[in-house]
C-alpha cells in the first residue's frame, strides 16, 4: 500500500493506493462522517484479486484537510471532487464502489461521467431518501447545544444498523470506530444525503450499475433501492440477507463479493 497527500479540490487529500498500478482501477468511497479506514480489509483483498484500489478520505474526513468552504452539504461537490481525483491520478476507466453517501456519490459520478467509468457499485444508497432523515432535525444537530451524547448515539445508532448476521465483536468494532467522526462533517454529509435527489438523472447513466442493499439496513427501504436500480438502464439490484448499512465491513468476504459484481458487469459490457 502507498499513501499520499494529494492536492484535490483546493485542499490536501489523504489517498491510499493498493495493488498493481497497471491493474484496472477501482475507487472506493466511505460513508458519512467516516474515512477510508472502512475499506482497510476490503481494499488489500480487492488488490489481491487484481485491482488497483484507490481509497480516498473525502474532504473533512479522516486524514484529509477540510473542504475550503467548510463542511460539504452537497453530495454533487464530492462527486466533482472524486472526478478531480480520478483525473489527478490518471485512472483509466475506473470502477467506483461506494457505501451510503459514498454509494450515492458513486451514482452521481456515473451521472456526470458514465463514459469514463467501467462500472459502479452503489451500496446502501438510493436515488432519493424521501426526506429521511429530517433536514430540519439535522440542521439543529449542527449545533452542539442541540446535540448531546453524540458519542453514545453514534455508537448505539451504528450498532442498530449493522446486520443481524454480523458477529457481535465485529459490529462493536464498527460502532466504536464510527465515534471518530467530526459531528459537523458527518451531520453535513447527512444533510447532503437527505437532500440529494438523483431520480431525474439516473436514466442518463450509461455505465453498468449495480445497487446493493442489506435487508437489515434501517437507513434504506429496499423498495426504494430497487426503484433506483430500475431508473438506471440495465441497472441491477442485490439484496443482502442479514447485512446492514456497511456491507464492505459486514460481509465475511466483501472483496470477493465486490470483485464478483465488478467482474460480472465488466464482462457483460465487453460481451455486448
Amino acid at each position: 500500500m502507498r499513501a499520499d497527500y494529494l492536492t484535490i479540490g483546493g485542499g490536501l487529500a489523504f489517498v491510499e493506493q493498493h495493488g498493481d498500478p497497471d491493474a484496472p482501477p477501482v475507487l472506493c468511497l466511505h460513508t458519512a462522517g467516516q474515512s477510508g479506514v472502512q475499506w482497510r480489509h476490503a481494499a488489500p483483498a480487492l488488490a489481491a484479486r487484481g485491482h488497483r484500489v484507490v481509497v480516498p478520505d473525502l474532504p473533512g474526513h479522516g486524514r484529509s484537510e477540510p473542504a475550503p468552504g467548510g463542511p460539504v452539504t452537497d453530495l454533487g461537490a464530492y462527486a466533482a471532487w472524486c472526478l478531480e481525483l480520478v483525473a489527478h491520478l490518471g485512472l483509466r476507466r475506473p470502477a467506483v464502489v461506494g457505501c451510503s453517501i459514498g454509494g450515492k456519490i458513486a451514482l452521481d459520478v456515473a451521472v456526470r461521467a458514465s463514459e469514463q467509468l467501467a462500472a459502479v457499485v452503489a451500496m446502501a444508497a438510493d436515488a432519493h431518501t424521501g426526506g429521511r432523515p429530517s433536514v430540519r432535525g439535522l440542521r439543529r444537530e449542527l449545533s452542539d447545544v442541540a446535540a448531546p451524547s453524540r458519542g453514545d448515539r453514534t455508537y448505539l445508532g451504528t450498532l442498530a444498523v449493522v446486520g443481524r448476521d454480523v458477529p457481535r465483536e465485529r459490529a462493536e468494532l464498527i460502532a466504536t470506530m464510527h465515534r471518530r467522526e467530526d459531528p459537523a462533517v458527518s451531520t453535513s454529509d447527512l444533510i447532503g444525503w437527505a437532500t440529494h435527489d438523483l431520480r431525474e438523472q439516473l436514466p442518463r447513466v450509461t455505465c453498468p450499475t449495480h445497487l446493493v442493499v442489506g435487508d437489515d439496513d434501517l437507513w434504506l427501504d429496499v423498495a426504494r433501492v430497487r426503484a433506483a436500480a430500475a431508473l438506471v438502464p440495465g441497472g441491477r439490484c442485490t439484496v443482502l440477507a442479514g447485512i446492514g448499512h456497511y456491507p464492505m465491513e459486514e460481509l465475511p468476504d466483501a472483496a470477493a463479493a465486490i470483485d464478483g459484481w465488478l467482474t460480472e458487469m465488466t464482462t457483460v459490457r465487453e460481451a455486448s
Partner: protein
C-alpha cells in the same frame, strides 16, 4: 401445560376456561385459516347497509369492520375465553390493507397487558390482534376484555410495563451510577396510559412514583405491543425502535437525547427482569 408452552403457541384450543390469572403478557395463539367468501361480502353489506361502490363488483373491498368481526369470531374459536369473561371494554383498530373475497385470513393473538381492577376480584386483559393474509398484516389492533379473577393477587410485575412495581424492579436491576453520575432529573416511562416516574439524583434512583412533584424531565412512551417487542427481541432494540419512530417522547428532548445510553441500559434491565 406450562405458561412457557403457551408462549410458544402450542396450547390446545380446548384448554378450558381461563380466569384473569391464567393470562400472562406474551402468551400467543394463532387461529386456523378463514377464507373470505362472496357470501361474506353480501351478508356484511346487508347487515351494515354500507353499499358504497367500493364494496361491489369483482374487485370489491369488504368493509373495514368486517375484519374486526372476523377477528372476534376467530378469537372465540381459539377457545381461550369462557365463562370468566364479563365483557368487552374497547377496540382500537387500524386497517392496513384492503380485504377482498378470496383472501384467507388468520388471526394472531398476543396478550400485551393484564391488570387487576381496583376491586381486586376482576382484571382487564388487553389482546393485540393481527389479521393476516398470506403473511401480510391486513388489519390489527387491540381489544380489552374484563374477566373474573380467581384470587386477589399479587400479580406478576416484570411485564407490567409502566407501573410502579415494574419500575421498582427496573431500578433495582439497572446500574445507572456511571451513566447518570452528573444527572439530576426524572425519567418518565409510559406504556399506553400507564406512566411511571424514576426520580434520579447523581446516578441513584431516589424514588419511583406515579408522578414526581415536578413531573418528568422527559417521558419515553410506546404501546404495549412495542414494550413486549422490547423485552422479547433477540437483541436490545432500543435504538432501532427509536430510529424507526416507534417511541413517543414528550418533555425535554435534549435531556432525552442526553440519556441515550442510560435508556439503553434501562431497556437492558427491562429485558433481564422480563
Amino acid at each position: 401445560m406450562t405458561e412457557l408452552d403457551e408462549r410458544r403457541g402450542t396450547t390446545s384450543p380446548a384448554a378450558g376456561d381461563r380466569w384473569f390469572e391464567d393470562f400472562a403478557v406474551g402468551q400467543r395463539w394463532t387461529s386456523p385459516p378463514r377464507p373470505v367468501t362472496a357470501d361474506d361480502l353480501a351478508d356484511f353489506t346487508r347487515i351494515s347497509g354500507d353499499d358504497h361502490p367500493l364494496h361491489a363488483g369483482p374487485d370489491a373491498v369488504l368493509q373495514g369492520p368486517f375484519g374486526v368481526a372476523v377477528a372476534m369470531g376467530l378469537l372465540q374459536r381459539l377457545g381461550i375465553h369462557g365463562d370468566a369473561v364479563l365483557g368487552l371494554l374497547d377496540t382500537h383498530w387500524a386497517y392496513r390493507r384492503p380485504v377482498r373475497v378470496g383472501d384467507v385470513l388468520t388471526l394472531e393473538v398476543t396478550i400485551v397487558r393484564c391488570r387487576r381492577t381496583s376491586s381486586g376480584d376482576r382484571g382487564v386483559v388487553t389482546r393485540h390482534m393481527r389479521l393476516l393474509d398470506e403473511g401480510e398484516t391486513v388489519q390489527e389492533g387491540t381489544t380489552t376484555a374484563l374477566l373474573r379473577a380467581r384470587g386477589a393477587g399479587p400479580d406478576p410485575v416484570v411485564r407490567a410495563f409502566g407501573t410502579v412495581p415494574w419500575a421498582e424492579a427496573l431500578a433495582a436491576r439497572a446500574d445507572l451510577a456511571e451513566d447518570l453520575a452528573s444527572w439530576d432529573g426524572t425519567v418518565g416511562l409510559r406504556c399506553e396510559d400507564d406512566e411511571v416516574h424514576l426520580r434520579v439524583y447523581r446516578g441513584r434512583v431516589i424514588e419511583v412514583t406515579r408522578r414526581a412533584p415536578r413531573g418528568a424531565t422527559f417521558t419515553l412512551g410506546a404501546d404495549a405491543a412495542t414494550w413486549l417487542e422490547i423485552v422479547e427481541a433477540p437483541e436490545n432494540p432500543f435504538m432501532r425502535l427509536a430510529m424507526a419512530g416507534r417511541f413517543t417522547v414528550t418533555g425535554d428532548g435534549y435531556e432525552y437525547l442526553r440519556l441515550t445510553a442510560a435508556l439503553h441500559r434501562l431497556v437492558d434491565a427491562a429485558r433481564e427482569i422480563a
